[in-house]
């Protein structure tokens, strides 16, 4: 049976080259990187090599990279760790952040931190004006994701970074606390420029399994001299910022994976931009009452999201799965909480419409033939489900 995986925003397959580099550390080279003997030192070397690989891609110093178990942990560490270290009283986030930011913000709120959630326009983009108006004297952190995982829109990180720099100059003169800038770059690493100095970020989170690395490993870039208190206590690993024996094989995999995707960034982005455009046009022209969500241009090459009127997302996914296609949806029925996607809600899509949400996310190996197949079968599935509906 045809099998077409279009859920790369959920996770990506492990690159065989990456696996090969990981294998020794799952077998013979089992040492604990904190040990002084040769076994340990081999592991230490491998971790530091990986740190260098990540630092190269982010254009930062090696010691500014902290390995974690995933991006969720990195995001938790950045937000909670900064608040604890600065005793900050106010943070600003966007409403379309991943749950690990929203829920961490909720947690901080319970502890007395004020949280401002920005507004977005109908595409999901935040505005500098709204951001500026939200800043308070006690603000210590702004956290805005680079690429939204549900719609693929790209937030204007460069402008936000520049703006925060300017604001911080004024605040310094006034004796106000510095505002730190965090971005969840999980969906951006492989396609967009992630030079932390260009972006002007103080924290950046990433996760290996989104770019053909293994699951269970992520990293947080922490700019030098940024106050941060670790959220997991124990040994002194990761410069005292993340206790726990390092996942050596995972870290090696992350390093290899980021190195590889960075070297193919432009080529893959170009290819996927073309395929995405082709898929969007194909779907919009072959199915009635379909809307593309997110911005028409300011979008990452790999994530496409539609709302299809008169169908329900989970049924759509089950039918697509029957045809060998793997996608995802922000429908209430597909979430454990039975809540429609907070992202679609934030951009003003009513629950009745987000009921029919479909996300297809492409990968480096996606082909035009696969997209052709999707364009061929999707209209029939939509037609069938619409016929089943009482509104037909």
């Amino acid at each position: 049976m045809t099998k077409i995986y279009l859920d790369h925003a959920a996770t990506t397959p492990l690159d065989p080259v990456v696996l090969r580099k990981m294998m020794p550390f799952l077998k013979d080279d089992f040492g604990n990187a904190s040990s002084l003997h040769s076994w340990g030192q081999k592991a230490r070397q491998a971790i530091e090599n990986s740190r260098r690989q990540v630092a190269n891609v982010l254009s930062c110093q090696n010691e500014e990279i902290v390995f974690t178990s995933c991006a969720t942990e990195a995001n938790n560490l950045a937000l909670k760790g900064l608040i604890e270290a600065t005793k900050g009283k106010h943070i600003i986030i966007s409403p379309i952040e991943h749950h690990c930011i929203l829920d961490t913000a909720k947690h901080l709120k319970k502890q007395g931190v004020k949280v401002t959630c920005l507004k977005t326009d109908k595409y999901g983009l935040i505005s500098l004006k709204n951001l500026k108006d939200s800043i308070l004297p006690e603000t210590v952190l702004i956290s805005i994701m680079y690429v939204n995982n549900e719609m693929g829109i790209i937030q204007p990180l460069l402008q936000i970074g520049k703006f925060i720099k300017e604001i911080n100059k004024l605040r310094k003169a006034k004796g106000l606390p510095k505002i730190y800038f965090h971005t969840d770059a999980v969906q951006a690493i492989q396609y967009l420029d992630c030079d932390v100095n260009q972006l002007g970020v103080d924290f950046l989170s990433l996760s290996a399994h989104k770019f053909y690395g293994p699951k269970g490993v992520g990293a947080l870039f922490v700019r030098k001299n940024t106050p941060l208190i670790r959220q997991q206590d124990g040994g002194g690993q990761e410069f005292g910022l993340r206790a726990g024996t390092e996942n050596v094989a995972g870290i090696v995999g992350l390093g290899e994976a980021i190195k590889k995707v960075a070297s193919q960034k432009q080529k893959t982005a170009k290819k996927l931009n073309k395929l995405s455009k082709y898929l969007i046009e194909g779907v919009l022209s072959s199915i009635e009452d379909v809307q593309l969500t997110g911005h028409p241009i300011k979008r990452a090459p790999h994530i496409i999201s539609f709302v299809i009127k008169g169908v329900e997302g989970e049924s759509l996914l089950l039918m697509l799965n029957e045809k060998g296609i793997g996608g995802s949806s922000g429908s209430a029925c597909t979430s454990g909480s039975l809540q429609p996607s907070h992202v679609l809600t934030a951009i003003g899509i009513p629950p009745a419409s987000s009921h029919g949400s479909l996300r297809l996310s492409l990968g480096k190996n996606t082909t035009k033939k696969e997209i052709d197949y999707v364009i061929k079968v999707l209209p029939g599935i939509v037609k069938h489900l619409r016929q089943m509906s009482p509104f037909s």
Partner: protein, 130 residues
């Protein structure tokens, strides 16, 4: 057939091959119920027959806009009550639906309640019109 550990084989079977799906022109009873929790909508049409002075569901059809479980519960509910007396059909429980489908994920139990509600309301609609 692809496997799916979230849903039982029976749920997937009813989802893919829904029984009694469609519309009845000039139905004796009809009801539309909606699930405010997730947005699913279910519509049941019935045709009532009479045998030995007892009214029974002679024909039943459904239309559903909803998830796999919403479609499967509609399908099996219609199958369970077709040919049954109105009194018996009205007593259908969501337990019967869940057992008939060889289980439902906990988060989908509300779909089975929607199906029983739709059947009860369609029968009530017929009785009100009489």
């Amino acid at each position: 057939m692809t496997t799916n550990s979230f849903y039982s084989k029976k749920v997937l079977d009813h989802f893919k091959n829904p029984r009694n799906f469609g519309k009845i022109e000039n139905p004796d009873g009809v009801a539309t119920v909606g699930n405010p929790i997730c947005g699913d909508v279910m519509k049941i049409y019935i045709k009532v027959g009479k045998k030995n002075n007892k009214e029974y569901i002679d024909n039943i059809k459904f239309q559903t806009l909803g998830c796999g479980a919403a479609i499967a519960t509609s399908s099996i509910a219609t199958e369970l009550v077709k040919g049954k007396s109105l009194d018996l059909a009205r007593k259908i429980t969501n337990r019967q639906i869940i057992v008939g489908l060889e289980g439902l994920p906990p988060v989908k139990i509300h779909c089975s309640l929607l199906a029983t509600e739709a059947i009860k309301k369609a029968i009530d609609n017929y009785r009100e019109k009489k």
